[in-house]
């Protein structure tokens, strides 16, 4: 951690470079990058609107679920490629390599924050009010960030050695999408499977986000415990894997 603080300017620079490259085109390009998740939400809304007898809060439900999901999906997938695609930072200069993953997840975090900022007025329009609990949003995002960062470290290190792991991850992430309550209501889950269903940390993250941003509930301790444990273990396992594998990065990249 102290080590990373020393590199804060480099982390900042790499994050900004990432963002600039993502939004490098015109002002419209930037708008598009926000518009596309909204359009996706719109499509999903029309597709899933009539299924399962969706309630009146379905638009808000869907938007928050989708935006929450996007940070994880984009953050981890781009982390997977981060080391391999920035090979020269690995083979030609000596910087702590986790910085590359960290700045990548950070730039995704900023993108995600922008997306959330855009949907907040929509949430307000749909519900007519915004719950106060939304102020807890940054705190939960911090936990969520460490979760994605830990998994990102794990994936980035593994991908250096196993080059088709991106295919595996793509499948996994699609499975996870439907294992999480994004496009369907949770009443669909039977009593019996619910305990297992809740073990998926993505489910708990999404529940917490909806509690904070739509329903005005404080997150349940159970949900918090799951995401806390998941983030901590993801970070520890990711860091250890990365630390072990990074020694030969320069040879394998």
């Amino acid at each position: 951690m102290i080590n990373l603080w020393h590199y804060r300017e480099l982390i900042g620079n790499l994050t900004i470079v990432d963002l600039k490259n993502r939004y490098q085109n015109t002002a419209l390009g930037f708008i598009w990058s926000l518009l596309s998740p909204l359009l996706l939400a719109l499509v999903l809304y029309f597709v899933f609107r009539f299924l399962w007898g969706q309630g009146p809060d379905f638009p808000a439900y869907l938007l928050v679920g989708l935006m929450t999901w996007r940070f994880f999906a984009n953050g981890t997938t781009s982390s997977l490629y981060s080391i391999v695609s920035k090979a020269s930072l690995v083979t030609k200069v000596s910087i702590p390599r986790k910085i590359i993953v960290l700045s990548n997840v950070l730039s995704n975090l900023i993108s995600s924050l922008l997306e959330f900022i855009v949907i907040i007025p929509i949430l307000f329009m749909v519900a007519g009010k915004l719950p106060l609990t939304i102020l807890l949003f940054p705190l939960v995002f911090l936990i969520y960030f460490w979760f994605a960062y830990g998994i990102g470290l794990f994936l980035a290190a593994l991908y250096v050695y196993i080059r088709d792991f991106n295919q595996v991850w793509e499948v996994l992430i699609n499975v996870l999408f439907f294992l999480s309550p994004i496009v369907y209501p949770m009443v669909q889950i039977s009593e019996k499977t619910m305990p297992f269903y809740l073990l998926n940390p993505m489910t708990d993250f999404i529940i917490i986000y909806r509690d904070l941003m739509i329903y005005g509930n404080l997150p349940s301790l159970y949900n918090l415990a799951i995401v806390g444990i998941a983030s901590l273990s993801a970070y520890i396992i990711g860091s250890l894997t990365f630390l072990k594998l990074q020694r030969r990065f320069a040879e394998e990249v």
Binding site: E9, L10, N13, L14, V17, K20, N21, Q24, K86, S88, L89, V90, T91, K92, V93, S94, I95, Y161, I162, R163, D164, F165, V168, R247, R248, A250, E251
Partner: protein
């Protein structure tokens, strides 16, 4: 004080037979449990020290391990064993312009690049004008990098890198930057660094530049340190090595054997348990083309596999009369004596009969070595005469050696194992 202490580092690369980069191949490899790679020692037991303020050159052929070593110093690769200690801030010019962003302006890139090189924003602001002025790119500072020519890119990168005020610079063939004028500026900058007591590690194939920049140099080949010494000396050895590789053996001539040294062996008890099997006598004879420096050479040349455990190696020489013998060691190059390894020993007094001579040997990448025992009037001790000797040796004609093979002692090998002696030069 030492800037760099490299202690006995080795680096092993794994060369897969079929590179397994997919999950399926990895799983199959796990199930089959076979070793799917060969090991290649890119560096083996390399040790050296560089004093602060020293300019240290590293030369060697392609694939000799120079870049691996430099990457190890730059902390990009990690040694499998041994340690690298670096005192001071290091700037590695393994590649210029790492992390340059084509879509961003020169100004933005200078800030990004210097943060990659470990310089903070405040410091970059201070040196920013100097960087652009040195690179002669002031008027292009707001231009996107994708519109720069490659020469401009390199100038910007080099200028940024040298202005980051490192204590130690690792330079790998990057001076071929820009036009003549800019290259001259680069050399001036390097000399300026030397005056500021900064340490420079310089890797290049441009031997004259190495000679100009570095007082001390190291020759590596096959991942081993062959020679460390004055740069001109190292370069001479290097050229000899290259030269020798090209030379072809000439026709052999037959003559009678040695007079002075009439029998020899590599010791079978101590260091060479397999010596009678692995050893081959290559040649022994008299250098007819003796000159003033060395009145006459009587020599035997023998190939052997040394003891790799690091024990003292030993050879035995039987002499027909008392005298002085000197020893030299060469590495094997495709069945011929190649690079001279150790400086020739000072004269070793020998008596009539068998003499045991112990010697240290710098092992390099090959398994086979040659030792050369010779005697001459000249006291060949320093590197200069050694290299003279090397030249002489190269021109010598080798003769078949009729081995006396005294019954019950000494080297017992069938005469049919003796090679026809080849000379070269």
């Amino acid at each position: 004080m030492e800037s760099i202490v490299v202690d006995n580092i080795s680096k092993r690369y794994r060369i897969p037979h079929h590179k397994k980069t997919t999950l399926f191949q990895n799983l199959v490899g796990l199930i089959k449990q076979q070793s799917n790679y060969e090991e290649l020692w890119a560096l083996k037991d390399v040790s050296f020290e560089v004093e602060r303020g020293q300019a240290f050159g590293i030369i060697g052929r392609n694939g000799s391990g120079k870049s691996t070593l430099l990457k190890m110093l730059a902390r990009v690769l990690y040694p499998d064993s041994g340690s690298v200690i670096i005192n001071g801030k290091i700037a590695s010019f393994l590649e210029l312009g790492v992390g340059f962003q084509p879509e961003l302006s020169a100004r933005e890139n200078v800030y990004i690049y210097s943060s990659i090189l470990g310089v903070n924003r405040k410091e970059t602001q201070r040196i920013y004008e100097d960087i652009l002025e040195f690179a002669e790119l002031k008027k292009f500072e707001d231009m996107k990098l994708k519109n720069f020519s490659s020469g401009m890119l390199m100038r910007l990168a080099f200028s940024t890198a040298v202005h980051t005020d490192p204590d130690i610079m690792l330079i790998d063939e990057v001076l071929a930057v820009g036009d003549e004028l800019f290259q001259k500026k680069c050399m001036e900058k390097i000399h300026e660094f030397k005056q500021q007591d900064k340490t420079i590690i310089f890797v290049s194939h441009a031997l004259d530049v190495v000679n100009q920049v570095c007082e001390t140099a190291m020759l590596i080949d096959g991942g081993h340190v062959i020679y460390i010494g004055h740069t001109d000396e190292v370069i001479r050895n290097y050229l000899y090595m290259l030269d020798h590789q090209r030379s072809m053996p000439s026709a052999a001539s037959i003559a009678d054997g040695t007079r002075f040294i009439d029998s020899f062996q590599s010791n079978g008890n101590l260091a060479f348990p397999e010596s009678t099997k692995s050893e081959k006598i290559i040649g022994a004879g008299v250098d007819a083309d003796a000159d003033a420096l060395c009145a006459a050479y009587y020599f035997v040349l023998s190939r052997f596999s040394p003891d790799k455990s690091g024990a003292v190696n030993q050879i035995r020489i039987r002499c027909s009369s008392p005298g002085n013998v000197k020893l030299a060691f060469y590495m094997d190059y495709n069945g011929e004596p190649g690079m001279l390894l150790n400086a020739v020993h000072t004269s070793i007094a020998v008596d009539t009969g068998w003499n045991n001579i112990s010697f240290p040997l710098t092992l390099v990448s090959v398994d086979q070595y040659y030792w050369l025992a010779f005697c001459s009037d000249a006291d060949i001790v320093n590197a200069k005469t050694t290299s003279n000797f090397t030249r002489r040796f190269k021109q010598a004609t080798f003769h078949t050696f009729t081995f006396p093979n005294p019954a019950g002692s000494g080297f017992t090998t069938d005469t049919s194992h003796y090679d026809l002696i080849t000379g070269w030069g």
